[in-house]
């Protein structure tokens, strides 16, 4: 009996983790664009910035494929900068198109979040004293 409960709990936790991962995957590009707003950054530096903002789980994949897509779509500009004694690093910075995409994405996120909040009844909870 105890084993069954433990299995159910583990399965539930796995599903939650999977949902969180899927949710994150849908907005990871936005998050990366947002942390680039703090200034140009290389790959791992962006991971650290995300972590500093409370996003510690990179999720199913990593940020590199997303950065690659942003670069291909010209939403970021890149330049290689020599490190302090280390190898040259590739720095990513927001392009004009990236800035616009970030603004649009934030608006989309807000509307989607509000809709989901409404569906989950969370909007009513906020209204109540």
């Amino acid at each position: 009996m105890r084993n069954k409960i433990a299995d159910g709990t583990m399965r539930c936790m796995g599903q939650l983790e999977g949902r969180r991962s899927q949710l994150l995957r849908g907005v990871l590009d936005l998050c990366l664009l947002a942390v680039m707003g703090d200034g140009p950054a290389y790959g791992y530096e962006m991971t650290k910035r995300l972590r500093a903002r409370g996003l510690s789980i990179v999720g199913e994949g990593s940020i590199y494929p997303v950065l690659g897509r942003l670069e291909r779509d010209q939403l970021v500009e890149t330049k290689r900068v020599a490190g302090n004694g280390g190898p040259p690093r590739k720095y990513y910075n927001l392009s004009v198109e990236g800035q616009r995409a970030l603004e649009n994405g934030v608006n989309e996120w807000k509307s989607a979040r509000d809709a989901v909040d409404g569906a989950l009844g969370l909007g009513e909870v906020e209204v109540r004293p």
Binding site: M10, R11, G14, Y42, G43, Y44, T47, I57, V58, G59, E60, G61, S62, Y64, P65, V66, G68, R69, E71, R72, G83, G86, P87, P88, R89, K90
Partner: protein, 200 residues
């Protein structure tokens, strides 16, 4: 760590990513992994779950960057690979069956293969397959072609064909099994195995 990057390099090479781009990605990855390690972190801190599947990670990165060229090896979609292998396996199995027919045909005494109609087409003709002659009984007065298996040591051409087809079948079957076993060890599946073992 270097093993992970090396594995990525191999995958990029396989996918036809140009060397300068592959070198650039490898250098970025190495620098980030080294920095994480210097800070006491692990590859998972940089790569997430991708740290367990370098080939998938490398392919995803190259694809998303749009730098995948012409793959150096065959890259059929996954389901097509299985169809191809299944077809080869079926052909191989049929060829093996043909080989077995040859073997059993040699040991049996006779084989009836057609009715009177065919006998009329080929009067007084019989196939000699190398074993003692024996006549197949003819039910309801419809005589069959008699396939005589003569005692001569020389095989009939049909026997040679069956023998060659059987050998080809063995080779095809072996190749199919080999391919299947390799694909079952592919990163995609090993990753699934990793995930399922984690879930447990």
């Amino acid at each position: 760590m270097s093993e992970f990057v090396d594995e990525c390099r191999r995958e990029w090479h396989r996918l036809g990513v140009a060397d300068p781009i592959a070198n650039e990605m490898a250098a970025d990855l190495t620098a980030d992994l080294e920095e994480a390690e210097a800070e006491g972190g692990s590859p998972e801190d940089v790569l997430g779950n991708s740290a367990f599947d370098p080939r998938r990670f490398a392919a995803a990165w190259a694809t998303s960057r749009g730098v995948v060229g012409t793959p150096t090896t065959c890259c059929l979609p996954h389901w097509r690979k299985h169809v191809v292998v299944a077809t080869i396996a079926c052909v191989g199995a049929l060829a093996l069956l043909a080989g077995l027919v040859l073997v059993s045909g040699r040991s049996s005494r006779s084989v009836g293969i057609a009715r009177q109609f065919f006998a009329g087409q080929f009067p007084n003709r019989s196939l000699r397959l190398g074993m003692p002659r024996m006549v197949f009984p003819s039910p309801s007065n419809l005589p069959f072609i008699r396939v005589q298996i003569a005692s001569a040591n020389v095989f009939h051409p049909l026997a040679w064909i069956l023998l060659i087809v059987g050998m080809v079948g063995i080779v095809c079957f072996a190749c199919a099994v080999l391919c299947w076993s390799r694909w079952f060890r592919s990163p995609r599946l090993s990753r699934r195995h990793h995930e399922s073992s984690n879930a447990r």
